[in-house]
Symmetry: C2
Subunit: 406 residues, 2 copies
């Protein structure tokens, strides 16, 4: 080996931090495009290039120093990723795949074309209130308004129950212009994606039917460059305030539903030709129907328990996939796993000062992100695995509570 394998990761948050731990096992050098020396992955010892993930120059600097480029978040301009690809850098997932997690309108329209089960939806153009009203119909029904792009952790999603809420909502929204920005930079040689973006440049929101959700699950899978696709056990996610703060796996769903969800995930992964991790959030409605909610094309908060619960963690499998190495087993090595996020509390307690308080939770696996404590911010997570399902989630939740200073 002349030099070690170097993986470049755009972003240096907690996902990159845990990817750094996985990279150490594989003898890989992880190089992150970071904003600050205080970013979680930089504090964990990943090599860093400091720059702006919105800037093509920074992305090129990263790519030039690495064998392959990947991402710890999706908030990177799609056309910048295309520029890397046009210069023959290896980038996974590709800009084409990334469209499905960056642009909700694109994903919904393509999934509708492909016949995948999704909620009813419509684009909201420049006549915002008119477009929503015409989607809602004569008798206004509860709806979900979503930013077309840029949303995460519950940001960019609004439930609208009364028509009267609409005007206030639209006037209060700090409008992102993200999709419009991207569309404004497309090349002269319009391809399919460019045409789509140009035609929908005015669309900043989509509106969807409000689903009466019985359960939310995530199917986490990893797809190799040869098309091999493996799925972890279905994960049941517990959303509070739009953030996935708690989960357990395997999800409490019937084997038949699990099989349908995994088969759907495989079709989606194939359709979008993802390379690396993909997390597909799904709704199960009251009638048992599965509907695709959103996609993340990277290691995902819902998959943290794979570190302790599966033979190969989501972080290691993402690295293996983007490097075209054999994928690791996604099977669980323990019967059950639960995870709870450690969220910043009002007292802004640093979880690192609380570890001395966790003697009631000797079997909990603690992961701290070394972030400044801000109320509501994800500062870490706790995973508890074992053979008895019932107590795991409450243990994880209580331990996370102690660490957040509650």
């Amino acid at each position: 080996m002349n030099k070690p394998v170097r993986v470049g990761m755009v972003g240096a948050g907690q996902l990159a931090r845990m990817t750094q731990q996985a990279a150490i096992d594989l003898g890989i050098e992880l190089v992150v495009l970071a904003k600050s020396p205080e970013d979680p992955a930089v504090l964990a010892g990943a090599k860093a290039i400091f720059g702006d993930d919105q800037d093509v120059g920074s992305l090129f600097e990263l790519a030039e120093n690495c064998d392959v480029v990947t991402f710890d978040h999706e908030l990177v301009p799609n056309e910048a990723i295309r520029a890397l690809e046009d210069s023959s850098f290896r980038v996974y997932p590709s800009s084409q795949s990334f469209m499905y997690s960056q642009d909700k309108l694109y994903a919904r329209m393509k999934f509708k074309e492909a016949g995948f089960p999704i909620p009813d939806f419509a684009a909201v153009g420049s006549d915002q209130i008119g477009d929503v009203n015409s989607f809602a119909g004569v008798t206004f029904r509860p709806l979900v308004l979503k930013s077309r792009s840029g949303g995460y952790d519950g940001r960019g999603v609004w439930v609208v129950k009364e028509v009267s809420e609409l005007r206030e909502l639209f006037s209060s929204l700090a409008v992102g212009k993200r999709a419009g920005d991207v569309a404004g930079k497309v090349k002269e040689s319009f391809g399919d994606r460019e045409r789509f973006l140009a035609e929908n440049a005015a669309v900043e929101f989509i509106v969807e039917e409000y689903i009466d959700i019985a359960k939310e699950i995530a199917i986490l899978g990893v797809r190799g460059q040869n098309g091999e696709f493996l799925t972890y056990a279905p994960i049941e996610t517990v959303q509070r305030g739009g953030i996935c703060n708690e989960l357990f796996m395997p999800a409490d769903i019937s084997p038949e539903t699990a099989t349908r969800a995994k088969e759907l995930a495989a079709k989606i992964a194939e359709h979008i030709e993802v390379v690396g991790l993909v997390a597909i959030e799904m709704f199960i409605d009251a009638s048992g129907e599965i509907l695709i909610n959103e996609l993340a094309l990277r290691p995902h908060n819902s998959g943290h328990a794979t570190i302790e619960a599966a033979y190969t963690s989501q972080f290691q499998n993402h690295l293996r996939a983007v490097l075209d190495w054999p994928l690791g087993s996604v099977e669980m090595k323990v019967p059950w796993a639960a995870m709870a996020n450690i969220l910043g509390g009002q007292g802004q307690t640093d979880p690192r000062t609380q570890i001395c308080q966790i003697s009631d939770f000797p079997s909990a696996s603690i992961h701290l992100y070394a972030k400044k404590p801000v109320p509501g911010r994800k500062l870490g997570h706790v995973t508890v695995v074992g053979g008895e399902k019932d107590l795991l989630l409450s243990k994880a939740r209580r331990c996370a509570g102690v660490l957040s200073g509650e």
Copy 2:
């Protein structure tokens, strides 16, 4: 938190590298005293002070930059550790505890006094051949000659089956003078340890009876600053050429033997007042008797499978103990685990170039140390866990073989 907790570790090899991964989980900064930027822990992103672990100045520089000092190896002068303690730095294990792993004569004599089961032994003074012969008795019996200090991984241990081998052996030995060096530096105010060292300054070797070993096990435990002591499941070690290259856990011994071994370990840990990890290698002879072999007061090669197999790894528990934090559970979360070292082969293949070859072993957990491939050198290890004991060790061995380029 004004500043993150910083743990200083003397040494930057693979044990420090894996401690760095554990430190990331706990939001700790690990600072290693390293020889080179190519040391495994430095490549893993631990902060580094470059210096000489034999030099008091380097050790002080490390201590001044950290909240507590610990070690990834024992080859540090005991009096240098005492100097840190005399300056009120927190050092775990203490210099007093460390005597038991640094000085085999001291350990044997103290354990004999305490009534712990050990092989028959004698100090070999300046009349080397005479001393060995008088220990062997009129009819020369097979013996084991050991360097009093400085040996590891099978270095410093010689089996002597015939009296005729003795002269050649002693003349061929590059004599270490390690124990003598230490004794030469003792202070005027002789304490118990200093008196022992001065009285035995001429002793470079000990000689022991040759034990007909039925099984070798290691009891790995962690002791907190409050005296709490927890032991992992007994580990069965498979020595080849003096190196522990393969292991599985729990060891294939009777519950009664396991209990005796754990109780003995608890007594030893209490006796030596260790803080942190302790690995106690034990022989089980043909009659089922347990004899103490050697101690390591740090994370140990025999404990690597705890990363995947136990709720808390040896690396994390070592950090928790030296920081006076609650210890994590040492219970196994899977039924069985096996580990095989990846040793450098004659072709000097770098395991990092071989990961593309391991598709037959999707459930194997790979740990690469990023070391230059030298024949016989430990370059990494493979752990396989699961519910079926029989195939685990052969899977780990075969995967390690592929990675070493065999």
